[in-house]
Symmetry: D3
Subunit: 262 residues, 6 copies
Amino acid sequence: VKLRILYIGDGPDKWFARWLEGWKEPDTVIETCGFGSNARQVEHAFKEHLAADAVIRHSVAAERDGFDAVVIGCFFDPGLCEARELVRIPVVGVCEASLHVAATLSAGKFSVLVPRRKSIPRMSENARSYGLGSKIASWRILGLTMSGMIDRERTQCAILREARIAVEQDLAETVCLGCTAMAGQAKDVQEALGVPVLDPVLVGLKVAESRGTLWKRFGISHSKIGGYETPPSDEFMPVLEQASSPAPATKKIGQLIRRIKP
Amino acid sequence: VKLRILYIGDGPDKWFARWLEGWKEPDTVIETCGFGSNARQVEHAFKEHLAADAVIRHSVAAERDGFDAVVIGCFFDPGLCEARELVRIPVVGVCEASLHVAATLSAGKFSVLVPRRKSIPRMSENARSYGLGSKIASWRILGLTMSGMIDRERTQCAILREARIAVEQDLAETVCLGCTAMAGQAKDVQEALGVPVLDPVLVGLKVAESRGTLWKRFGISHSKIGGYETPPSDEFMPVLEQASSPAPATKKIGQLIRRIKP
Amino acid sequence: VKLRILYIGDGPDKWFARWLEGWKEPDTVIETCGFGSNARQVEHAFKEHLAADAVIRHSVAAERDGFDAVVIGCFFDPGLCEARELVRIPVVGVCEASLHVAATLSAGKFSVLVPRRKSIPRMSENARSYGLGSKIASWRILGLTMSGMIDRERTQCAILREARIAVEQDLAETVCLGCTAMAGQAKDVQEALGVPVLDPVLVGLKVAESRGTLWKRFGISHSKIGGYETPPSDEFMPVLEQASSPAPATKKIGQLIRRIKP
Amino acid sequence: VKLRILYIGDGPDKWFARWLEGWKEPDTVIETCGFGSNARQVEHAFKEHLAADAVIRHSVAAERDGFDAVVIGCFFDPGLCEARELVRIPVVGVCEASLHVAATLSAGKFSVLVPRRKSIPRMSENARSYGLGSKIASWRILGLTMSGMIDRERTQCAILREARIAVEQDLAETVCLGCTAMAGQAKDVQEALGVPVLDPVLVGLKVAESRGTLWKRFGISHSKIGGYETPPSDEFMPVLEQASSPAPATKKIGQLIRRIKP
Amino acid sequence: VKLRILYIGDGPDKWFARWLEGWKEPDTVIETCGFGSNARQVEHAFKEHLAADAVIRHSVAAERDGFDAVVIGCFFDPGLCEARELVRIPVVGVCEASLHVAATLSAGKFSVLVPRRKSIPRMSENARSYGLGSKIASWRILGLTMSGMIDRERTQCAILREARIAVEQDLAETVCLGCTAMAGQAKDVQEALGVPVLDPVLVGLKVAESRGTLWKRFGISHSKIGGYETPPSDEFMPVLEQASSPAPATKKIGQLIRRIKP
Amino acid sequence: VKLRILYIGDGPDKWFARWLEGWKEPDTVIETCGFGSNARQVEHAFKEHLAADAVIRHSVAAERDGFDAVVIGCFFDPGLCEARELVRIPVVGVCEASLHVAATLSAGKFSVLVPRRKSIPRMSENARSYGLGSKIASWRILGLTMSGMIDRERTQCAILREARIAVEQDLAETVCLGCTAMAGQAKDVQEALGVPVLDPVLVGLKVAESRGTLWKRFGISHSKIGGYETPPSDEFMPVLEQASSPAPATKKIGQLIRRIKP
């Protein structure tokens, strides 16, 4: 099926958009927009809050603009619940997607590599609320800041070192890269260690294509009874519009999205 | 000790501020401010997001203004993690406080009454992440909207009905009112049923007084190593200020806080 | 990508192969084979054992024949672990796939409908070992035997009845049909109840297409270190061949597979 | 509020009573009594049993004498359940109190330091039955006997060493001192490590003041329906009296309590 | 092997000793003693505390007198941990024994019938600490007091009624009678319902014979490193003796034990 | 009671049958048969599948031949569920039996020693489904293949080394040998370390004697309602017979069983 997918998030690299282009299926059109300048490099709950704000606004606009799925490109999955509440189209968090895939690739458990210990409480709460807490062998720490990860070689070394310990000592059978700033670095580690190493951006995208298909062809998306129940639109639309003045929200996204030639 | 406590949240009633006044200890000064007009009656994650925004801004301002503790007056505990990240003074979520107290009042389990089923997934995630998921006998649903709870008599009936079922069928030993809009309604139910019934506003306030004391006299507040690590202030202060222009954030709070005669 | 997928399992209906044809993506070629006459209508562990035997043999042959993924078409996921141990291509169990998808569609929990109570202990063990035990709202029983489910109208009634109770009383936000004999019956129930209702055959197929792509384009399949480690081929190949004499295993499959015009 | 609190337990030091005096709020009157000579230095379940005996008798007498709350000054919380069963006034176990406070100070997990490994099974059972098992990062062992802890300098060294490992390796965000014989040693470690370090005696006392207030002003104490249901008084009063003859139980307590000038 | 087993507990009936005699293996010699007049009909933690006292004293004496195993004849397993701490011979709690056997008889879960709701929090804590919390389908309440259970016909009716609901509604596959006062009533219910119904006295006895054999022939009993580490005997022997003066503890037991003709 | 027990499994040694003879009770007659040549040295799920096949056939034949219990002599417990489904006599898995016994010997947790990491995911799934996951301190790896364990001295060294680490670092209070190829090696390690060390063959046998007695004298065996419900015999008997042609299944066992002089 022809799918239009919006990737919300900031790539670790100027070639990031090109990677997405290379990873998608031929029939997929992928567009991207960032979390906004205040929310780049989400490490703290405060920035996660700002990123959630962007996710909320972009998801609502994406649905209006006819997108078939949205990917939240941050391993905290900021705004995942809020966005699912406001739209019907599938919203995929790269962490949620990666953990579910990792679980099915492992007879036993898998490990997640994170830049710093700061992230672990929040992320392991998420893992538990996704239902997958019991599948985590370990959270391993690279000891790198978000900006430190710009040095890709040093990051690669740290990933390789911690992934190896995860596999050998913690008995992880699969390794998840736990930050989109590590995008593009999974393949070499997978080859070096001989276990699946998941790039959250790649996995998020492929899961979004699958969910976009389930939605477009079979009408299956997240439930609208219970936790994702949509609030009355006269409650949230004015708020969304008020904040994004003078330009309406949909326009704003139009501006933010850097179009990639499909 | 003399304590200054900021209660962030909207009372169910014009007499709400008076109740707080009656419930606090003599040496406590309590001031209140709301979540802002967009975030009143938090039922959806979207509004929770807006309420978190208010909690973040007010908590930061409260610390600057010399408050000793902050109470988040919504049973979703919106912004609890974000606020603890940004300030050193104790931040008390009424849900977190109530669940911990309820756990120590019950040899077995306790139940929580919520207005609608919408809230249960989010709140039970919170309960689990507070570590207390295994102590919950049941989440029982009143079948009332937020605005429906303005009718206090009808609300009282629903509370009594569901609390009784919780005690008799679900074997709850304590009952928590799971929404600040039910404030002021616990006492009669407690007398009718003969089990502790917790008013989240009352419990939140008393726990805040206790934590304010631990902080002011003994320097004990939430940990700053790990999940509540503070981001660099040059990252979050500009954002806070930019959003609240033209008036600086602290001023803005000054305006929002309706002072109660201490 | 062009994918060749082997669906192992028996359809509830003569039109079953046609449904698969209608559900797959245009580039997918799907072929099917059954569990063998002894293992039809898997209800007991004994039959599950026989079905696992078929899964083992067909999976090994499928990998040799160049298939890109295998789907195990029984909600017990018989032979899932054994097959993953013996092959590198993705092996998808319809139960595992459905539970993971259901988890991401639900803010809270989801329910599974099973024909009889007999299946619940085994299936809930599986759910727990997939890591998803905490996401299950309830296992609901249709009160139908495997052969009773041939009456599709009566089955539809039972599904609708139990699904409604799951949603209203157990607070399920998504419903899984817990037996491939219910294939083709999800759509109407989804429309009637307004929550996602998952057909395990459909979900198994779509997940297999996604995993086939991850494998064929990105080399990602289940881990071969740990629980899915492959035994020395001189240990298992003779056994596989010995049992399937006179015709070699790969031939045998060639005979069993009813080719569907791609 | 004016509160009378009974602290049952033996201090690690002759200045212990003075510390309690310094830690309480101005309006609190605190009195203390020990577990009896047989039950000093509770390390084994057998001594815990003897200590529970003292807790039962003293709690019943304390309620009669008009106390507003009781603190059990041993990290095994001996007799916590039994005492709550027999009285209506709040009974606070220092372990239960400390674990609940530690949980709210930590975004992630916290560690408990214990003298020897002997205590871990019993205490971790308690932690789990309080509902907080999932919040424990580690139980770390000082390698000291109860009598060894009289050497406060050596104890301080051991605490500092293990607390540091807890924070750095086990990712604890808060540290609990897991024995009242470590009372008075938290503050320096807290300053050295920069995370909250909880003194169980201090936390037990402050929680008792808070619960005493909830009880005295708002009638909230542990539930009397379910696990803490009171037995018929004609069953337990004769037993209590018989054991403490010739002097009645209340007198006996009067003798045991060393009054601290309020 | 020839085994001498001490059953500590009070039978529901004057024929109780005769049942034990009928249930034991030919080579077993069984002797019994009660919990003492104060601790008969253990329903409350207070009585459990008194019963534990008897268990401690009798177990120590039993080891000295050459018994090969001890059975604690109360479904609260009072003093189980304390007794294991003080002796090397196997100590069997009827609840612990019954839950472990029930777990191995059930592919899914089992239910426990208790006289009143009072017992559930304590017993389910025990079940969880034995590691078996996840195997419990339900705790069902007979609605009978301890003394009410003297009417065996009425008790039988209540057992049958609740056991049937456990099997049909809660999907229990095995039923445990959760009080030794129901001894002798399992067999008829087992025949009526067609599922295993466990008599805690019978199961406790048979497990004690098995453990006695493991101990006497193979030297296997509970671990003495960790939680059951024995305290220094100069700490506990004087206490035991002091309490039982003027006659030494072993004598006292000698008096208490009603010998059954072997 | 006189018991006839069938031990299905391959001993690590030519003296194996003699050990069994020495370990059983005088009244027990024990006979043995192997898993068949294809399924010797079960390390992989594929072989476990073959072993299950043998267990199914031998258990059914054993029941017909008048055996009172069956022991599955492989720590994966292959075919445990399938065999219980098909027969009424007790079927004991050596892993299930050992874990339950280990749990009751430990106040805290116990460890299991396995030859290689390959086994851990499957076995820990089993442990969790037996309900005992929370009692496991660690799975420790000997680093030996199945055939490597033929060197008993080297195996003994590895057992001693890992058992010691389990006790000292992982705080295990009991150690389980997690493979029947380690049979006969527990006793020396138990003496060296001073904690119970369980031989799975010995424990499996003694538990089978206990269960055989419960069954023969009291009619208690696994439940036949729920997960172990027997399939209609006209479904499984033809399959069993067909596979074992030309000789019928019961004959076949008669041939396989090497009789040990009772």
